[in-house]
């Protein structure tokens, strides 16, 4: 039952405060992580079997009676579910140790599970308003999670994030209203079919613009990116990992992609706009990342840049471009999640995020340093790590489609990315050991375990990229490349 992806985390979340009264730490940790493990296994193992024959349309039944909830699972949504479960689990394991001194662990896990439920819900619904609703579920949980430490910076970041996000949601709803007005329906299939019938160029353009502004804000594409460099660093490390690794992609990129490619259909104009936005994000954010002294702030700008790659690849619209974009989405989720977690380890050990104050930490925290190196190289696109392959695919797709300018931009920005990541690695981990840190220890068990897990995945997927792409990315890319057919054809209820 795919509704479990939404129902299970919600039910566990609802129960957690009660459990928390009985057992402050152990039981909440156990319950939350067990839920995520279950979801990951369910998605990775059963999910593939479920969609083997094509998209799955499941009618939910409650106590034998059919309830009018129909959820659709296709290659793209399954792909996102796996990404969410994987990074979600890693960050949750990390939080077992990291969130110790924050207090209110049961509450933390509850909010976290609600955020996961929201993201899963977004990916499984098949009508426009459902996308908005679950987007808000995840967003509201994330505001509280960003502010969880209750320090001045966190509150400031959370408030600004909330304000901008509320504006984004308003734009999305406005777009939904316009579509509703034109087609009289909200579900993907009906809207896609209706839009074929009406000749609605300008009005769809208006709706597209509204969606672009709304989802662009959520995805932190330049010029809608201003909130991210404040929000992501201030949040607790596991939350930064999930926000940068998952939330901007699910509520921004997935929603935008699903609507633009499967419901509206990717027109040349839309493709051009997406590619330009992607390219601008890549370049601007890469330059902004260069001057950063705060480790997490640099990572935040890097996220904006890498999401640019994803949008560039998907915006290109060719099957190879889409595959590259999606693969990069996945790889970045893993790698950026990893990097935020290791930065959390560093912050936990040294109490600072300022790169200039660090130095030589590799001697005291070898595992963290190694994991961080893997993550950095992955995002910078160094073979044989996963990030290299996804960037390569995007660049090849650009060249094949006759877009050499974009390809050159992608390559050059990649060099820039490598530069500032190596800089970060050197400042924080290599070089002489700053005396202040002579006594720091390696991070606690769960924190290192989760980072090692993600690092191994980056390595493994890099080596086994061909089979990863074939099994997970290709089905998702096929759904998107099919365009409107994917929704009008096989989703007939």
């Amino acid at each position: 039952m795919i509704i479990l992806f939404v129902a299970l985390p919600l039910v566990v979340a609802a129960v957690l405060p009660l459990v928390g009264k009985v057992s402050r730490r152990v039981l909440p940790d156990l319950l939350a992580n067990a839920t995520l493990v279950f979801l990951l296994v369910y998605a990775a193992v059963t999910g593939r079997a479920l969609i083997a024959g094509g998209p799955l349309l499941q009618q939910v039944t409650w106590l034998g009676e059919a309830v009018n909830i129909r959820l659709a699972l296709d290659g793209f949504s399954l792909f996102m579910l796996v990404a969410v479960s994987l990074v979600g689990l890693a960050a949750s394991l990390f939080a077992i140790d990291y969130m110790e001194h924050y207090g209110g662990k049961a509450n933390y896990h509850a909010l976290y599970l609600i955020m996961i439920a929201g993201m899963n819900g977004l990916v499984l619904v098949n009508d426009l308003f459902g996308v908005y609703l679950f987007l808000e579920v995840a967003a509201i949980a994330s505001y509280a999670l960003v502010a969880f430490g209750l320090g001045h910076d966190e509150l400031e970041a959370a408030f600004k994030y909330l304000a901008l996000s509320a504006v984004a949601s308003a734009f999305v709803l406005a777009g939904i209203a316009v579509i509703f007005g034109m087609t009289g329906s909200l579900d993907f299939r009906a809207v896609a079919a209706a839009l074929r019938e009406i000749d609605a160029g300008a009005a769809v353009a208006i709706a597209s613009a509204l969606f672009l502004m709304g989802f662009g804000l959520k995805a932190a594409l330049v010029p809608f990116h201003a909130w991210l460099p404040d929000a992501h660093p201030s949040a607790p490390a596991p939350i930064s990992a999930v926000l940068s690794g998952l939330l901007i992609k699910v509520s921004g990129v997935y929603a935008m992609t699903r609507i633009f490619l499967n419901v509206f259909g990717l027109t040349p104009a839309l493709s051009a706009v997406l590619m330009v936005l992607g390219a601008v994000s890549i370049v601007v954010a890469a330059f902004l990342a260069l001057g950063q002294k705060d480790m997490k702030r640099m990572l935040a700008y890097s996220s904006i840049s890498q999401v640019g790659y994803v949008v560039l690849g998907i915006g290109l619209g060719t099957p190879l471009g889409i595959a590259g974009g999606l693969f990069h989405l996945f790889n970045h989720a893993l790698a950026k999640g990893l990097l935020f977690l290791t930065s959390g380890s560093v912050q936990h050990a040294t109490g600072t995020r300022d790169l200039d104050e660090m130095g030589g930490l590799a001697k005291r925290m070898p595992v963290t340093a190694a994991a961080n190196l893997v993550g950095a190289l992955s995002i910078a696109g160094v073979p044989p790590l996963n990030g290299f392959w996804s960037k390569l695919i995007i660049i090849i797709a650009l060249v094949q489609a006759g877009e050499p300018v974009f390809a050159v931009i992608a390559v050059l920005a990649s060099v820039l990315t490598l530069w500032y990541y190596l800089l970060m690695q050197r400042k924080a981990f290599f070089g002489p050991l700053n005396e202040k840190w002579a006594a720091v220890k390696e991070a606690p068990f769960w924190m290192t375990a989760s980072t090692v897990l993600l690092a191994l995945l980056c390595l493994g997927i890099g080596i086994l990229f061909a089979s990863t792409v074939a099994t997970w990315v290709q089905p998702a890319a096929d759904v998107l490349a099919d365009g409107v057919q994917a929704v009008t054809g096989s989703w007939g209820f």
């Binding site: 308003f129 609703l133 808000e136 509201i140 505001y143 509280a144 502010a147 209750l150 001045h152 910076d153 509150l155 400031e156 970041a157 959370a158 408030f159 600004k160 909330l162 304000a163 509320a166 504006v167 308003a170 709803l173 406005a174 939904i176 209203a177 316009v178 509703f180 007005g181 009289g184 909200l186 201003a226 909130w227 460099p229 404040d230 201030s234």
Partner: protein, 102 residues
């Protein structure tokens, strides 16, 4: 779309714009939240009038009601944030929240 729809959209747009202006210009945190509320009014008016013009008033109501529920959750969270900010800075001035550079 019927002509009355355009009238409603006119008002909805005015409300959203007023809210956006408020968000840009005001300094009191609570006022910023009120501005967000006004944007919400504009959006719910837009949704409902669209449904009205299509004859789908029931669906539109379901959407607006859900939207209002989301608003309540949002406002509750935001007010909780504001009260916490007040405890830290003893003021509601958004200029005190300028430590992070964005």
């Amino acid at each position: 779309m019927t002509n009355t729809w355009y009238l409603y959209v006119f008002f909805a747009a005015a409300l959203v714009f007023a809210g956006l202006l408020g968000l840009l210009g005001k300094r009191n945190l609570i006022k910023l939240l009120i501005a967000i509320e006004v944007i919400g009014k504009g959006v719910s008016l837009l949704l409902l009038s669209t449904g009205f013009a299509k004859g789908h008033i029931l669906t539109a109501q379901a959407l607006v009601i859900t939207f209002i529920v989301v608003e309540v959750s949002l406002i509750a969270t935001a007010l909780a944030l504001i009260i916490n900010v007040y405890r830290h800075t003893k003021s509601l001035d958004v200029r005190n929240l300028a430590k992070l550079k964005g």
